[in-house]
Amino acid sequence: MQLEKRSLMIPKENKIILRILGMIAIACGTAAFINIRENIYQIICWILLIITGFYAVSYYDFIDAAFTAKNAADFYNYNEKDISSKKIEFTEEEFRISDEEHRLMLPKKFINRICIEKKTVFIFTDCENFYYIPKRILSEKQLQIIKEFV
């Protein structure tokens, strides 16, 4: 869920810009490493530039994804006891979610957006906060109702 949320929240332009910058750094670093090697100081600089390039290229796909997955696993292990089940309802006009301490009844127009990803359905109440439903607990019919609600 956290990985899907992460891919939803990060703008595509950020990923593209970082990848392009990383590729430029790798290309410049490699070209300089091959052609300009006057002293050890320069060689270290070019190697650092290449490493930075690789870091930038792989940041969103591997490094950040790994940290997100680890943080999510740690969060789940730490808070497992506190995670309570919620009752979720979709009516024609409202989305309702409730547990012992929280009840929310949102009319359609109060929902910012609904994103149906591979494994999770995200219901955003604003640009940042959301509720999620794992797709594995939904039947085809229920998923269809959510799609119609969108």
């Binding site: 301490e101 929280h102 640009c127 940042e128």
Partner: protein, 190 residues
């Protein structure tokens, strides 16, 4: 017996929610640890400046040192000035994108928990589940719980007596979580 201490209505303005979100971000968000992070960059920048000084400020002759100096200066200002401003902007953006935050809430402050409700939402939070209670000149910011809910109470909607009563109550009930943020400088308006 869990008796009610206070009851009041509260309606947030955009700047109040933004201020609350900024406080939360400083404690738990991207701005967390900004002081030591900016200090690290500041010291690297000073070291680079020292190297440049030793070379008689020959910036063209030492491009990497000059570049590192500029990057570190930028990162320093990013952590000190830009990140809090970005957090405030994000808070405003969240407020604008939510139809729920601008609604009026009815608060019921009890001995061990508080309830906030309106026609769309009912939320009960125990003080023991909160990680932060920060008071500023304009707001109370309560945060915590598994979903990291940020609750902002505007002082504007309360009378002076209610404000001091609520402040004293939070101070007494949330000894670990309560903090009084520094006030604004005299004459500075937000």
């Amino acid at each position: 017996m869990n008796e009610t201490v206070m009851r009041f209505k509260n309606k947030l303005k955009i700047r109040e929610y933004a201020a609350g979100y900024q406080l939360y971000d400083l404690r738990h968000g991207k701005s967390k640890g900004r002081v030591w992070k900016s200090s690290v960059f500041f010291f690297i920048a000073m070291a680079m400046l020292f190297i440049l000084m030793m070379t008689g400020f020959n910036a063209a002759g030492y491009p990497v040192v000059t570049l590192m100096l500029m990057v570190c200066m930028y990162m320093c200002s990013y952590y000190v000035y830009m990140l809090p401003a970005i957090a405030k902007l994000k808070g405003e953006h969240i407020y604008k994108s939510s139809r729920l935050l601008s609604k009026e809430y009815f608060f019921e402050i009890k001995k061990d928990c508080f309830i906030m409700k309106n026609e769309h939402e009912y939320l009960k939070k125990y003080y023991s589940g909160l990680t932060d209670c920060i008071e500023t000149d304009d707001i109370f910011m309560l945060a915590g719980g598994i979903d990291n809910t940020i609750i902002v109470i505007s002082k504007r909607c309360l009378s002076g007596e209610e404000n001091s009563e609520l402040s004293a109550f939070f101070k007494r009930e949330m000894v670990k979580q309560y903090r009084r943020a520094r006030g604004r400088k005299k004459g500075k308006k937000t």
